[in-house]
């Protein structure tokens, strides 16, 4: 025995060992750099979006002082807060009052460059506090798109000079624009808001979730727990895998040909958008769901069967609750994809200009990614920052959903 030197103890072996360890180190380093690279790209993307987009949450506003004591406006408290009230102020000449004081504060040139709809903001403030009408008040009103871009150092020479002058007088500032979160689309970048698209996305996602989740989960349960292994279930499996792989635009064609034929008057509605996206999301949920269901240990099923639970009870009392975290993960991934999807929605009319936030599932709407897409091709340069801001909102929404997925996963996760 002792004269036999095992090959694993020779110097040659040890020399090779060094190389193998070098290979190991390289491999590990490659793995690490793959991750670092991916994360770096992510951080770069998020970082540059944030930098570009921060400005999108602000808008250029000019200072206007209005002395209402001179204006002679009156407000009926009963009407305040209603359309009527706004109209009565309009008929009393509020727009002219605003114009007049704008010229007072900013000079004629400057007054040209407050947004034409600025008086509405004044009206809103009067509605909130009719007492203003008794005194002098200072308002920060949105500047026109031209003045805003002049302030940003772009646009025509005149505007840049005007902007510089007003800014030096402290009458032009970029202020945080809270209204961005409560308004809908508009033609003037100074007046756009994200709420309409966000609402559209939320409504669409609700429809998607309400359809894709139950159908996906039930289909996954059937395929994993009950389906006999035969040609039919093979066919179902094939079509589910295939649907997960079909380019999204084709779902748009399906929505166009099927849903819009059945419900022609719901073009652009979150209902149809949600149904189309649900078909796209459902296979992802089925696939993730099947994996999660497969991971539930058979001993749990045996245990329940052995005390006389029926197969349906076993599934709904034991398997489903245990598989839920995995199903939720798949659902969120599918929903995240649906959230960022534009192509299929192009086909079913969600590429629309909708100036008021949708108030129901059948009201015309647009969604966040579509809003981003539309704004990115706007002629007006003020939309560049707004686009980035919208992207940030979308990403936050996405992070929220991912966070929710992780939270739910951890909450429901059980060990066995």
């Amino acid at each position: 025995m002792s004269e036999h030197i095992a090959p694993t103890r020779t110097p040659a072996f040890e020399a090779r060992l060094k190389k193998r360890y070098a290979a190991e180190k390289r491999f590990k380093a490659i793995g690490l750099s793959a991750i670092v690279f991916s994360i770096a790209v992510l951080i770069y993307l998020l970082g540059s979006m944030t930098l570009n987009g921060i400005g999108g949450f602000q808008r250029a506003e000019v200072e206007v002082q209005i002395d209402f004591t001179q204006a002679g406006l009156s407000a009926d408290p009963a009407l305040m807060g209603t359309q009527e009230g706004v109209r009565s102020l309009e008929s009393q000449g509020l727009p002219d009052v605003v114009d007049y004081f704008a010229s007072e504060s900013l000079g004629d040139e400057g007054a040209e460059e407050i947004s034409g709809q600025a008086w509405r903001q004044v009206a809103a403030e009067i509605a909130a506090d009719p007492g203003i009408l008794e005194r002098q008040a200072t308002f920060w009103l949105p500047a026109s798109a031209d003045l805003a871009s002049g302030y940003a150092g772009e646009g025509s020479q005149d505007m840049r000079e005007l902007a510089a002058q007003l800014a030096s007088e402290g009458k032009l500032e970029k202020n945080f624009d809270a209204g961005f979160f409560s308004r809908a689309d508009a033609t003037n970048p100074q007046e756009v808001g994200i709420w309409g698209a966000l609402m559209g996305s939320i409504l669409t996602m609700i429809v998607t979730l309400a359809l894709a989740f139950p159908i996906g989960v039930l289909a996954a349960l059937y395929l994993e727990e009950y389906a006999p292994k035969n040609k039919w279930t093979d066919l179902i499996e094939l079509s589910i895998n295939n649907l997960a792989a079909v380019p999204s635009i084709i779902f748009g064609l399906l929505g166009l040909a099927v849903f819009l034929t059945i419900f022609p008057s719901y073009r652009s509605a979150p209902l149809i958008g949600g149904m189309t996206l649900a078909l796209m999301t459902m296979p992802v949920i089925v696939i993730a769901g099947r994996n999660a269901i497969k991971a539930v240990p058979p001993s749990i099923r045996d245990g329940a069967l052995a005390i006389g639970a029926s197969p349906v009870q076993v599934v709904f009392h034991h398997v489903l609750p245990l598989a839920l975290p995995g199903i939720l993960t798949g659902t969120i991934i599918g929903m995240a994809r649906a959230l960022g999807e534009t192509a299929p929605l192009l086909m079913i009319g969600m590429r629309a200009f909708v100036a008021s936030p949708p108030d129901s599932f059948t009201a015309p709407a647009t969604v966040l990614p579509m809003q981003i897409f539309l704004w990115s091709d706007e002629i007006d340069r003020g939309f560049v920052e707004r686009t980035s801001a919208a992207i940030i909102v979308l990403l936050l929404f996405l992070l929220l959903m991912n966070g929710l997925a992780i939270y739910l996963r951890n909450k429901f996760e059980k060990t066995w």
């Binding site: 245990g303 052995a306 005390i307 006389g308 009392h317």
Partner: protein
């Protein structure tokens, strides 16, 4: 083919199998087994690994139905009624013939829910009070009450292995079965836990017909009054435990007992 010792008392058979064969696909895992399971005694199935003990046990409460490739031939009776007849619902059968598995498999729910699950789905208890009573009674019978009474809301999976196994037994008892089948219930447990389970089996003996599969002859000797020895899918010998261990008739039984294989 099976040697059945002749000195067995004539007892009522709670379950009886006649010419039972079990196939996995084309493979015969159990070959023509006939046996009576008495109510009064604990019956042990012993035999080398892979001889078909678990397979036969699982066919007694039709758990083999869950394996698509498995097929059972022959008749198995529970109280004289064929368990495969359409009139006997499989869910009801399993409620009457409980089972405890090799690896303790409590549900990942609270201890209380583990026990209450069976009574709930079978509607055996009305209202919270009755349910509480059933849970307590089952846990007491399984000798677990004292240990867990203050933590009924803890997860069943947070118990030690031996406690988990007793929980599974309590869970089986809770639906008031007539037969309890145990498939190597102690093989995942340490000696102390094992001793507790064996004590429990002794206590339950008489109230339920109990069948236990074990790979430990020592255990069979300790807890059972009847022993059946399986080998390569056949039941080789069946008789009083004391007889099988001291006076085996078949050569194969003797070889196995004395450690020639297994």
């Amino acid at each position: 083919m099976t040697v059945v010792h002749e000195n067995l008392e004539n007892t009522d058979a709670k379950m009886s199998a006649r010419d039972v064969s079990v196939f996995y696909g084309d493979k015969k895992a159990i070959d023509n087994v006939s046996i009576d399971i008495p109510t009064e005694y604990v019956t042990a199935f012993i035999g080398p690994s892979g001889c078909g003990k678990s397979t036969f046990l699982r066919s007694l409460n039709r758990m083999n139905d869950t394996i698509p490739s498995a097929r059972v031939e022959g008749t198995i009776m529970l109280d004289g009624e064929d368990i495969h007849s359409p009139s006997l619902d499989v869910v009801q059968l399993r409620a009457r013939v409980g089972m405890v598995f090799q690896k303790p498999n409590p549900f990942p729910k609270s201890i209380y829910e583990n026990i209450a699950y069976g009574p709930k789905i079978h509607g055996l208890a009305e209202g919270k009070d009755e349910l509480d009573a059933v849970v307590e009674k089952s846990l007491r019978r399984a000798g677990l009450w004292e240990e867990v009474k203050d933590r009924l809301q803890d997860s069943g999976t947070a118990l030690s292995g031996g406690q988990q196994q007793r929980l599974c037994i309590a869970r089986a008892i809770a639906v008031d079965p007539e037969v309890i089948l145990m498939d190597e219930p102690c093989s995942a447990l340490d000696p102390i836990a094992t001793a507790k389970i064996e004590e429990l089996i002794d206590e339950l003996n008489g109230r339920y017909a109990i069948v236990i599969v074990t790979h430990s002859m020592q255990q069979a000797a300790r807890v059972s009054q009847r022993t059946a020895f399986f080998h390569l899918g056949k039941m080789v010998e069946y008789g009083r435990t004391s007889d099988i261990f001291t006076n085996p008739i078949e050569q194969r039984t003797q070889d196995y007992i004395t450690g020639r294989y297994g």
